[in-house]
Amino acid sequence: MTKTNRRVLLSACGLALGAALLPLAPMARAQTDPARAAAFIQAVGQELVAAINNPALPHAERRRRVADILRQAVDIEGVGRFILGRWWRQATPQEQQEYLRLFEETLIRNLAARFGEYQGVQFQLGRTQQRTEDDVLVNTIITRPGTAPFALDWRVSEVGGQPRIVDVIAEGTSLRLTQRSEYSAVVQRNGGQVSALLAAMRQQIQQLAAREGQS
């Protein structure tokens, strides 16, 4: 009954799965094969749906399973570095490590806080387009009981010989770009201190964990 317009996805699932952003780790990337990318998204999607739609499992166990899937499927380091952008090199090595750890946890907690909303979620594979040589866009249609279906596009790239999710696009909005603007604004408005961003991320993770407890 809750009308969930597709934009909810943008912000909701958006920032969640969306942290699934880019792989700009400037390491050599092989050409990405569209058929392989589509099969990869199909497999990851099925795993995620199975983990989320299993109310028999305790919440914490579902979160652990989802975390394992995301660590495998998402190029967390590449995406995290892309999002931090120019501030990555201004961060100390300790800050970089801490940032990647918090980034991964934010991604997982964002999704875990929404398991309730995603009960009964299904997805359907749409067409696959080769965007650039090493970049394939896989379209999916997401359906949930009681809400209108919406389109979610997954950008897949070969990282270290394996297909990895590097971005999620909802309604023309790339989540890695959106999140980069957000994080950059936080650092900039705190005098260029990456530590301020890390503090804000820590606080956000606490809030997400609290939400998870309620659902």
Partner: protein
């Protein structure tokens, strides 16, 4: 909608009158690139306007939208949204034509005829439900963009939301080109016109209750997130990228993503 020219003028004056964001020194090319990409030279002013909007939103807009959702049943709200979208059809049709999109223009014209008659004045979107022709949006800001006009610096306008000079101009043109805005005169017609403005604001805010709550809750800097989302979506709309547009969005501000019928 009619307050918009005033808002445009006010915001332009205020932009000139207030300080601008500090441009990074030329010696820092990365910072400079980001400054250009963010395209928000009036950021301090825009953030002040965002705060003004948030105050207004918390005090009036959001509570009203919540009340509307609580009191009015969903089928009625869907009907209201459909009527508002149908009333926008002439402007959408005009822009479809200006963009050189005869197929899309045909869809819009067909939808307007069918929904205005069989859909009982636009209350029911039978063109979509029975004829399989879903709505799409088109506006003057988008048309200008498709003609190659740049967006100009980012602007945040209270009530209206995220925008830029091109889309604000397009918004004004959309109001001026709307036949229903000019038809007739007198107290009744004026009342209907203002009723339409009020219904548009409430309907748009109701549509955004969940997404904006979520934004407030999950973004570390909602202002920056909104700015990025707005600019990306407008770019996608100008490229007519599938999935980027709602059936009858308003072309600027918070209204770009609304106007679709509600999920069932």
């Amino acid at each position: 909608m009619s307050p918009s020219p005033l808002l445009v003028a006010l915001s332009l004056v205020a932009v000139l009158a207030t300080g601008c964001a500090t441009r990074p020194p030329a010696g820092d090319p990365e910072a400079l690139a980001e400054f250009r990409e963010t395209n928000d030279p009036a950021e301090p002013f825009n953030r002040a306007m965002y705060d003004v909007h948030q105050g207004l939103d918390r005090a009036v807009l959001r509570p009203v939208a919540r009340g509307y959702r609580t009191v009015v049943p969903q089928p009625v709200r869907t009907g209201v949204r459909n009527v508002l979208g149908n009333l926008r059809s002439p402007v959408i049709l005009l822009n479809d034509m200006l963009q050189g999109e005869p197929r899309r223009a045909g869809d819009t014209l067909g939808r307007f005829v069918i929904n205005s008659t069989l859909g009982l004045g636009g209350i029911f979107d039978v063109a979509k439900s029975h004829f399989g022709v879903p709505g799409h949006t088109a506006d003057f800001g988008q048309t200008l963009g498709r003609w190659g006009v740049g967006e100009g610096p980012y602007l945040f306008v209270p009530v209206l939301g995220p925008s830029n000079p091109r889309d604000l101009l397009g918004f004004g043109a959309g109001v001026a080109a709307d036949p229903f805005f000019w038809v007739g005169q007198g107290a009744v017609v004026d009342g209907l016109a203002w009723g339409r403005v009020g219904a548009t604001v409430v309907d748009t805010r109701e549509d955004l209750l969940d997404p904006l709550d979520e934004l407030e809750r999950s973004s570390l800097d909602p202002y920056a997130t909104l700015r990025s989302v707005y600019r990306q979506r407008r770019r996608a709309m100008i490229e007519l990228r599938p999935g980027a547009e709602a059936p009858a969005g308003y072309g600027t501000g918070f209204g770009i993503g609304t106007g679709q019928d509600q999920g069932r």
